[in-house]
């Protein structure tokens, strides 16, 4: 986790969602709502697995509150807090 700042992790989340999981374009940013963009039960677990691969940290689903899924920035903050 040492290499990840909140900003960098938020950007990584955006990349994962854009490239592999959601059907979104460049208008989807680190401040966009994840749920409004189509994040569902399957997609969120796929995202968590990809994040685990990048960071080595598994985020339990129970930590995924509406607030933590408000945006990539919010989720990144949750992951960074979990690591620290």
């Amino acid at each position: 986790m040492t290499a990840w700042s909140r900003e960098a992790l938020a950007q990584r989340i955006v990349e994962i969602l854009r490239e592999d999981i959601l059907d979104v374009d460049e208008r989807f940013t680190a401040t966009s709502s994840l749920v409004d963009a189509g994040l569902d039960s399957l997609a969120v677990t796929q995202l968590l697995l990809a994040l685990e691969e990048s960071t080595g940290i598994w985020v339990d689903e129970s930590l995924l509150t509406p607030e933590n899924l408000a945006s990539a920035e919010a989720l990144a903050a949750c992951v960074v807090d979990l690591a620290s």
Binding site: L39, S41, L42, V44, Q46, L49, E61, L64, L69
Partner: protein, 446 residues
């Protein structure tokens, strides 16, 4: 594109195979039912006229399902749909509402769930209407369909579409976007897909290491005789359950919370019987409908994840939930959602009987421990249907005589509906009461 022959999805074919098994062994069809409990103001003739119009616009609603020339992947034969009868709307005799008590569930709905619909002749769905006090005390409406035509979410999209047509919010022939009619690509059966399908087979064989035992016991030739009971929690109770589900299983993944409660409810019945169930093996449908598709009404868009819990693993709710979470995570990581789709795509070409036989052989005659589905919010935002207020609504899919028990949960306007579908004779009155009491207790944490 929309040609005269529209292929079934792999999941449709899986369900078609299942339908054949139910037909042979239980004298029924694999159907599902959506129930609307309506207030006063419903006119069945409006529904009849609307269904006739919509069936002209969407021929898939009465398209015979067959294999072209007897081989290849099964299709909806849209060219022959016009010759098939219109979907039936049957209005049953008016029932007397019990004074000062909730309306019971209509017996006619149970009978329809045990009916046989002939998909080869285009008989794919039916409506049953039961007016109470001539409709003055409300009306119950059941939409019953062969499960390969619609999935649960599709059935809700279909009801919504009917209401939009009724209100004029959608014009004639204006089908919901992504309706599911013409966007199924032919299955790709290359080496990669073959490996995925084999991975799925290996996974299923692994589940058989400690096979399950259902409350009904292994399948035998028994006529299907399903009934269901509905328990509706208050808004306060529902809010408490939803909060517990969110805190323990996550905001977007509460289904495992409900599944854990359903496993423990069945475990309680085994315990009361003094019977070791061996393990619990339960499939969980995964919704794969296209993201952003407004409608995706027709055909099934699902894969399935299978969970396996040794009997002793059901003794502690929290430990059980953690086990289910880990299994789901591992299965998604291993690509079993996609592998399930690949396996079902191969089922497009496999003889239905072979497919079902292989599944049952693995589990010593059992299919699974019980059926389970969490369908989340039921018709959110739709307050009325054809002008009558929706007082409640839920799903009741059929369950074969074995496993003989199914738990289906959804939320209608802030109230959790627990639907327990069961084969007559599989559970005593006391066992059903015990199952529901344990379910409630685990959901509420009481």
């Amino acid at each position: 594109m929309r040609g005269p022959l529209v292929p079934l999805t792999g999941a449709d074919c899986f369900l078609r195979a299942f339908d054949g098994e139910v037909r042979r062994t239980a004298g029924a069809s694999h159907l599902s039912q959506l129930v609307l409990r309506l207030g006063p103001g419903f006119d069945p003739e409006r529904l009849r006229a609307l269904v006739a119009r919509v069936a002209e616009e969407a021929p898939i609603l009465r398209a015979p399902i067959r294999r072209p020339r007897g081989v290849g992947a099964p299709v909806y034969d849209l060219a022959r749909a016009a010759r098939a009868p219109l979907p039936r709307v049957e209005v049953h005799p008016s029932a007397a509402a019990p004074p000062g008590a909730p309306r019971p569930l209509p017996e006619a709905f149970f009978a329809r769930l045990n009916d046989r619909l002939d998909a080869r002749r285009g008989e794919l769905l039916r409506f049953d209407v039961v007016p109470w006090e001539g409709g003055a005390a409300g009306t119950d409406l059941a939409l019953t369909w062969v499960h390969m035509l619609l999935d649960g979410a599709g059935s809700e999209a279909f009801v919504r579409w009917l209401d939009e047509r009724f209100r004029g919010a959608r014009g004639p022939g204006e089908l919901p976007a992504g309706d599911g009619l013409g966007d199924v690509a032919p299955p790709a059966l290359g080496a990669g897909r073959g490996r995925a399908a084999h991975a799925w087979q290996r996974h299923m064989r692994g589940l058989a290491a400690r096979p399950p035992r259902s409350l009904a016991g292994p399948l035998r030739r028994v006529r299907q005789a399903l009934r269901y009971e509905l328990e509706t929690l208050s808004p306060g109770e529902t809010a408490a359950v939803a909060a517990r589900a969110r805190e323990r299983a996550g905001f977007l993944t509460p289904m495992l919370f409900y599944l854990a409660a359903a496993i423990r409810a069945h475990a309680a019945v085994f315990e009361a019987r003094g019977v070791d169930p061996g393990s619990f093996v339960v499939p969980l449908p995964v919704n794969l409908r296209p993201k952003g598709a407004e409608g995706a009404v027709f055909r099934t868009h699902v894969s399935m994840l299978w969970f396996h819990v040794p009997a002793e693993g059901a003794s502690d709710f929290d430990a059980l939930l953690e086990r289910l979470k880990a299994q789901r995570r591992d299965a998604i990581k291993a690509g079993l959602v996609e592998a399930g789709v690949a396996a079902m795509d191969y089922a497009r070409f496999a003889p239905a009987r072979l497919y079902a036989h292989a599944a049952r052989r693995s589990f010593g005659g059992e299919l699974c421990s019980f059926f389970f589905a969490w369908t989340d919010r039921f018709l959110p935002g739709l307050a009325s249907f054809l002008g009558a207020p929706i007082e409640n609504g839920f799903h009741a899919p059929s369950v074969p005589p074995s496993p003989g028990s199914g738990a289906i949960l959804s939320v209608r306007e802030g109230r959790l509906n627990l639907t327990h579908v069961f084969q007559a004779g599989v559970l005593s009155d006391a066992e059903r009461a015990l199952l529901r009491a344990r379910l409630r207790a685990d959901l509420l944490g009481s």
